[in-house]
Amino acid sequence: MDFTVVSEITDNIATVTLKGSLDSASASVFQEEIQKLIGQPIKDLVLRVSELSFMASAGLRMIIFAKQKLGSAVNIFLVSPQDQIIDTLQMTGFIHSVHIVDKYPK
């Protein structure tokens, strides 16, 4: 499935909606979106991923990239990831560094 990414910033909260397949071919599109956020006052990065059907390690690298570029104080939320993506976050230890939530704000 084609990958799409849309972002917006409201009240220091960056919301990025990811849909489709995030692999090493499409990761650069996500990276460009993160680069737009660099330098802005962001408290929370909210990744809406309920319609993200596939995520390879290239997607994990983009989460690391976001954390390193936006600053370690930024909280990263993943809203409604599919079970298989949670498995990947678990396997790689990412589960400890991101917040998995059913909805945002709670």
Binding site: S21, A25, F54, G93
Partner: protein, 144 residues
């Protein structure tokens, strides 16, 4: 049913990853593998195919490289085999990220090194063979 083997050839370009995943999903579905088994297999193959395309071809400046994928459907197993003629590379030999690294906060982590670990952990068996001058990366899923 007897065994079936389907063979496909791809250009060494990241654009082919989606088609690779779609082909595996289609064959896995047709033969009764679960959504989770199929996802994990496509993830493992995607990670290694990415490495082959990036490190074996693109970074070496090889413009018109191709590699093969075989999907083998046996009575009790689904096997995917990636066969490439790029520089010999055995992913099994690579050091996996340590437990310590996996517990390191993201802001302190190096970018990369997770793909092979994901591949190994996502299938029942992940093997490498060097046969007639070619890298063979082999992914085995057992029928439950």
């Amino acid at each position: 049913m007897g065994s079936q083997i389907h063979t496909y050839t791809f250009n060494a370009s990241l654009e082919v990853l989606e088609e690779i995943r779609n082909l595996i999903s289609q064959k896995g579905n047709e033969h009764g593998y679960s959504k989770k088994e199929i996802y994990n297999l496509t993830l493992a193959v995607d990670e290694i195919a990415t490495n082959i395309i990036n490190h074996g071809y693109i970074e070496k400046g090889i413009k018109k490289g191709t590699f093969n994928m075989l999907i083998e459907l046996h009575e009790k197993q689904l096997i995917v085999r990636l066969v490439d003629g790029a520089v010999p590379y055995n992913p099994i030999d690579q050091n996996l990220p340590s437990e310590e690294l996996l517990n390191t906060p993201l802001e302190d982590r190096p970018i990369g090194g997770l793909g092979i670990m994901i591949a190994k952990q996502s299938v029942d068996e992940f093997k490498y063979e060097f046969i007639e001058g070619k890298n063979n990366n082999i992914f085995v899923v057992n029928k439950k």
